[in-house]
């Protein structure tokens, strides 16, 4: 097993790490850097619980090797907002009671961020498509779609609750 040096940025912080060949981006984020918002739901790219933003695009971190994230800018849920400064998505999800067990929270919110970066006024169908890579077993998705619609409105500058 050889070790490789990887430099990457996570939530705006630069890291320099030695990783194993077989280490996944998921393992790097969770075990090495302590970003436990990134969850392992299946390890086979089917559930989206591990999804993070890599260079602005949503990626299943269980299907990406750590070495592939060399020089990448990675965002996890911990970087979306803080308790004092919540992201519109976070506010909307709270307001709409859009999460139940919360295990899919990271994957869904980051998928939504990916969408809203590219499309400021998505239709409900476009929202559904954007989050279809994350399985939520608890909610039936309704309130998530509502929340993302509201967040989009707030981000467009329209007043919301």
């Amino acid at each position: 097993m050889s070790r490789h040096v990887v430099v990457l940025e996570v939530n705006g912080r630069r890291h320099r790490l030695r990783v194993e060949s077989h280490e996944r981006l998921l393992d790097l984020l969770r075990d090495r850097l302590g970003y436990t918002s990134v969850k392992e739901g299946c390890g086979t790219g089917d559930c989206g619980a591990c999804a993070v933003l890599v260079n602005g695009r949503i990626v299943n971190s269980c299907l990406m090797l750590a070495v592939q994230a060399r020089n990448a800018k990675v965002e996890t849920l911990e970087g979306l907002g803080t308790a004092n400064k919540l992201h519109p998505l976070q506010k909307a999800f709270i307001r709409n009671s859009a999460f139940q067990c919360g295990f899919c929270a990271s994957g869904v919110m980051l998928s939504a961020k990916d969408l809203l970066q590219r499309n400021q006024n998505p239709s409900r169908d476009e929202i559904r498509k954007a989050i279809s890579g994350v399985i939520c077993r608890c909610t039936g998705y309704m309130k998530m779609v509502d929340a993302i619609e509201e967040a989009a409105a707030e981000m467009r500058g329209e007043t919301v609750g």
Binding site: T36, F103, G140
Partner: protein
Amino acid sequence: MVLGKSKYAADMIPEDALRLKVLRSSIPHAVIKAMRVPRRTPKIKAFITANDIPGINVSSCIIPDRPLLAKDKVRCMADVLGVAAAEDIDAASNFIESIQVQYEPLPILTNPFESMKNDAVKIHEDGNVARYLKLRKGDVELGFRQADLVVSETYSTQFQDAAPLEPEAGFAVPGPRGSVMIVGSMQNPFYVRSAVARILGVHEDKVRVIQAFTGGAFGAKSDEVAMDIAGLTAVVALRTRRPAALVYSREESMILHSKRHPFTIKHKTGVTKAGNLTAAEIELVADTGAYASNGPLILVRALVHATGPYVIPNVKTDAYCVYTNNTIAGSFRGFGNPQAHFAAECQMDMLAEKLDLDPIEFRLKNILRLGSVTATGQILDSSVGLEECITKVRGASDWNRKRSTWKHDSDRMRRGIGIALLYHGNSIGPEGVDRSSANITIDRRGKATLRIGLAEYGTGARSGLAQIAAENLGVALSQIKLEIPDTLTCPDSGGTFASRTVVMGGNAVKKAATVLRKRLDQVAAELLQCDPSMVEIREGVARCRSASTQEIALRDLVKSCLSRGVALSETVEFTAAGVSFDEETSQGTPYLQYSFGAVVAEVEVDPLLGAVTPLKLTTAYDVGKAINPLSLEGQIEGGAAQALGYALMEELVHKDGVVVNPSLGDYYVPTSLDVPEIESFIVERPGPLGPYGAKSMGEPPIVAPASALINAIAHAVGVRIKSLPATAEKIISALEGAKS
């Protein structure tokens, strides 16, 4: 949660914990002849088998038929023969893979009908029928003679996987004097504690169990797996004096945890020309897999509800819970009721069709109403909101128009609209003594801590409990702190299942809060110089209703109480009234109240491809009293999505006892593209059991949507699917069958 800060079990594993990996059976039914375990490398700190269990080697639910670790025999692919503990998970996995087990294969029973044959091999010593129940009401032979039409059909359902997004996980930390602390993803910390104490052969006081934030459960984490993980990690932790962690992969999770029981249900129903039901003869056969798990209790619920929410004077039901060599079937939201209602509601639709009556009109002639007698002979003397639910969904879905005009769709795509009703007995009913305890303690700052052993895994029910506490104490919700479910600090409130948290836990909380409130009122009355009945506490301030200018801040009131020696900590136990249920005839009052509901489903079917696109679900539920409407909607929508998966796309397939698709890539859980818009209505008919009249709403939302969808498909393309899931292949096959 939205900040990503919630820690689940696998997020909290101690740095120095050993990582465990289980050795699973590689054959569904066999005698274990030998196990060749290679020499342990330095990284492998322990390998535990059945002989190493210090106490009793059992991890089971109702019938003690299941060993924690298999010893002489394996009965299904979910049997675990041993567990390795190593410095890292790769070392543990490699070690497990290098173990060779010699088996002597036994015949494999793949379905209950094979198991029930006289010459079938015995999976368990006492035979292959784990439980048999019967229900007898009236005289079905007479009832059938009174009928103008008798319809017989057989329906079948599949293994459904709970598929919580968080795979099972837990760890144990050894403590002083043989004690151990366990943190895990689970539903019932007190059940886990009892199980672990038995496995270790120690007093329960030596075992502390903490429920970690749990990422979905739906029943799977109520049964064996939570006890297995806690038991195995505890054994390793105490043996090695190191923390020990076990996290299941998705594949392990799907093979090892309990699934929804497949049922084969025969209905024979008699009805008059006018549309009144006269008799029902029903046979329910459940495949419980190799171990009974909660099968015996699931059978009770299915038996009681098998007719659907209708008045039928003569009922004969026989129900069997049968062992096979499939993996384990056990608790899953609905607990036998989704299966029972799938059959009952499809049967009702078939009858309506044959009588040429509108499905709603036909049902209205037979539904349970206030004063009706159920199949168990129970008189429903309170709170039956079923008709109102039907009225709501009928109007909101535009049923009448769609039912008649969609028949004449000339496009290739055919639209259909269907309905299904449900009733669901609340809490555990005849399954045992129903009791719940809660403690509320108010501290010097006026902050109240609620301690209750009921768990949160996404239902939002615990927030409801906090609301009830806040309301009754007269404080803001933000002043209530919910202590995490910890067997050391919280009272045993019974299990977090059967949708009983608000109904039973809520009552205990209300009682505790009321007791404390009385004490606060007493002291406030002295200080404010008025009658205790006039004291009003709102938003942390106590006033006299008659002279509202005088007020005391709650924290000052609390200080006064404490200095007067008035205790502000109260533990209260609430026990539900006993139910009566005759074992021979299943007549009596099995549940103290029922939730009711109606679901209308609209679909579009492509008859060439057999593809079904759900268009909309309109639901209405009699919830008794909505404690938290937003949270309630969440349960309704989530339950509908799971039912949709059950109806159209989910099936955990066993081939000769082997699970063929233990992955989320091959087992289809509905995504955001599969679930349509859901409109939900809440009907409130306060019931006699829950606080404020609240009824169970965790499980009811999964009971009806599947049959509503199947009935909608029948309306769209004229064929009836009688086995779930209604895949494209089945629909095309049925259409081709109809043509010929």
